[in-house]
């Protein structure tokens, strides 16, 4: 059962890539970026998960070795916070660019926004 959730995280990753590759609407592309980010964040949290784990807070009189045996890993949680903030700023910038692009081109369709060719 444990592996199913990893497969789901991986499926989410593929959905994100699909949206980025196949969709031509800027808003959908931005949603694809978000989904891709969520997939990696989900995997990151799962890495620190432990079944029946307790919150990683050191109780009085408890040794750190004891806590490490029971608690979930706190480091991925700290990492995922950083990653979410990075995702937020990327999304905000992408939306801002989308608004400016709409002002210039009058459309969200990438097929019509084609002044540059790779």
């Amino acid at each position: 059962m444990g592996t199913v959730i990893y497969i789901l995280a991986f499926a989410l990753l593929l959905f994100g890539i699909y949206a980025l590759v196949a969709k031509k609407n800027i808003v959908r592309i931005i949603l694809g970026i978000c989904i891709l980010g969520y997939a990696v964040n989900l995997l990151l949290v799962l890495v620190g998960y432990r079944r029946d784990g307790v919150a990683p807070i050191l109780a009085q009189g408890q040794s750190s070795v004891e806590l490490a045996k029971q608690a979930v890993d706190p480091l991925p949680q700290a990492m995922v916070l950083t990653s979410i903030v990075i995702g937020l700023s990327t999304t905000a910038l992408a939306v801002a660019l989308a608004i400016r692009l709409y002002e210039k081109y009058g459309t969200f369709d990438m097929n019509d926004i084609r002044n540059l060719r790779g």
Partner: protein
């Protein structure tokens, strides 16, 4: 000297935030450019001081721990490593940043809200220093992200239709790259329970360096970082993004960002974290050779000066990755020849430094020409050699360097790479490198012919010499191009040699502070492929 290392990241980041505040204070808001220049100048001083301090022992590695709490026998904290490779990168980044910011003082006057430019520029410079100094994987990722998000903003700085489109394209592809880098870092963490590069390197053999999970992590990191380095076939964003940015930023992106965020990280991870192996080296060779050849063929047909330069960036970075890959291949042979591998690495790293100098120089001169003639199309220029003598002189030095004409720096680094390829037993790749060098020469003869010689067309008739600060910045880089070629031997001993040695040592180069101890994270059995 140890205390100086965090300053390289701290000064630009601090100055970036200071500028956003001071820009709103009446009376001081005009000084933002000066503050930014001083911050970058301080960084140049610090990076050279770090290099000089390592004069007696060029191979020394300085590491600084922030935090350094005791976590069940293993230190918890953020490590910054300043070894030979990091010193080389830091010097490259800061010298180019300094020249670019001098150029920008005059060039950016045409834009409004220049303080935003300075703030983003410093954010990018500080983060790039962070990337090369980071001693753990997650911080490397975070600094890559800070640098690239700042660069998305800078690419779209002009807010014209094409610039916005290029910025959006760059953002989408850059984000895919970042997600894959984070995926790779996550898998490595789940396998080893550590993020510190040295710890990961020492623990990876225990979980099986060739296991499927390690290969998945390596693939994710290789893909993500190749996207950042714009290796063919991940290059589609570069020819749009780099020319659309303002000229100083093009110089910074092509000159430094794709090296620090892409090639440096690739080399560091493939050699020092995963440990040198034939398979990874072969991937780097293929990526490098493909970028080298395809990049130059795409460049020859371009008539837009800045797009032409951008395609040459792909091609020239191909040389670097190819040389580094061949070095890895030589080391991982059954009977490794350290001398040839060292020669390959010297060629690759020397070319990386040289490319930073001459490509920035060419982008700056393209900016200067664009400002005077109002066009980037080569066919609409002409006769600029007489009207803009300083710009033309610098542009010629840059073109001769990139085309590999002696005695400029590009000639020596290409020669070393080609000789090293022959010695390593790859005559075909060496022939390919010679062919690409000839094609590069050809396309820069075209630039000389259409932009600098001939009769002026259109606005080029009224072109005048660029302002003094822009001329000064270009002359500084021209001097770097000449000096780096002539001072190759001492530079090899004190700068490039130690940097190459770090990569030569493979996974043992980064010293783990404590390689034993209880790990919080048990390796995920499902990933390792030994599920009970």
């Amino acid at each position: 000297m140890k205390e100086l290392v965090p300053l390289l990241v701290g000064i630009p980041l601090g100055a970036a935030f200071l500028i956003t505040i001071l820009a709103h204070v009446r009376g001081i808001s005009r000084l933002t450019g000066l503050i930014a220049t001083l911050a970058v100048a301080a960084n140049v001083a610090v990076s050279i001081a770090l290099w000089v301090a390592a004069y007696n022992d060029p191979g020394q590695s300085v590491s600084v721990w922030a935090g350094n709490w005791d976590g069940l026998g293993v230190p918890i904290g953020i490590e910054m490593v300043c070894d030979g490779l990091a010193r080389l990168m830091v010097i490259t980044i800061n010298i180019i940043a300094f020249v670019v910011i001098i150029f920008a003082a005059s060039y950016m006057l045409r834009f409004t809200k220049v303080w935003l430019f300075y703030s983003l520029f410093l954010l990018m410079t500080g983060a790039l220093n962070g990337v090369v100094l980071a001693g753990d994987l997650f911080n490397m990722f975070v600094f890559i992200e800070v640098a690239t998000i700042a660069s998305y903003g800078l690419v779209g700085f002009g807010c014209e239709a094409e610039e916005l489109e290029a910025a959006f394209k760059y953002l989408v592809l850059g984000t895919i790259g970042s997600c894959f880098i984070l995926l790779g870092v996550t898998i490595l963490y789940s396998l080893t329970g550590h993020l510190n590069m040295a710890m990961v390197a020492s623990l990876l053999p225990k979980v099986g360096s060739q296991g499927p999970a390690v290969l998945l992590a390596a693939a994710a990191l290789l893909g993500g970082l190749s996207l950042k380095a714009a290796m063919v076939p991940f290059h589609a964003w570069l020819p749009d993004a780099h020319p659309s940015a303002p000229a100083p930023i093009s110089a910074m992106l092509s000159g430094v960002l794709i090296k620090a965020c892409g090639v440096y990280c690739l080399a560091r991870l493939m050699f020092n974290v995963f440990g040198t192996s034939g398979e990874y080296a072969m991937i780097l060779i293929v990526l490098g050779a493909a970028s080298m050849v395809i990049g130059v063929f795409l460049a020859v047909g371009q008539w837009d000066f800045k797009r032409l330069l951008a395609y040459h960036s792909i091609s020239q970075m191909g040389y670097v990755v190819l040389a580094i890959g061949v070095a890895g291949e030589v080391i991982s042979r059954a009977e490794p020849d350290q001398a040839i591998a060292a020669l390959c690495l010297f060629g690759g790293l020397f070319h990386m430094f040289n490319h930073a100098a001459f490509k920035s120089l060419l982008f700056l001169s393209s900016g200067s020409i664009e400002q005077q003639t109002g066009t980037r199309r080569l066919k609409e220029m002409g006769g600029l050699a007489r009207r803009m003598p300083v710009t033309s002189f610098c542009c010629r030095i840059g073109a001769l360097s990139i085309a590999g004409v002696p005695p400029f720096n590009g000639f020596f680094s290409k020669l070393i790479i080609i000789v090293a390829l022959v010695l390593a037993g790859h005559p075909f790749l060496a022939a390919l490198a010679v062919l690409v060098a000839l094609m590069t020469l050809l396309s820069f003869i075209k630039v000389q012919r259409y932009a600098l010689e001939g009769e002026p067309v259109g606005k080029a008739v009224a072109a005048r010499e660029a302002p003094a600060l822009m001329g000064l910045a270009m002359l500084l880089l021209a001097v770097v191009c000449i000096v780096a070629g002539l001072a190759m031997v001492p530079l090899r001993e004190y700068l490039f040699g130690p940097a190459g040695e770090v990569l030569l040592k493979g996974s043992g180069a980064l010293k783990a502070k404590l390689s034993t101890g209880v790990s919080w994270q048990e390796p995920l059995m499902w990933f390792v492929g030994a599920a009970p």
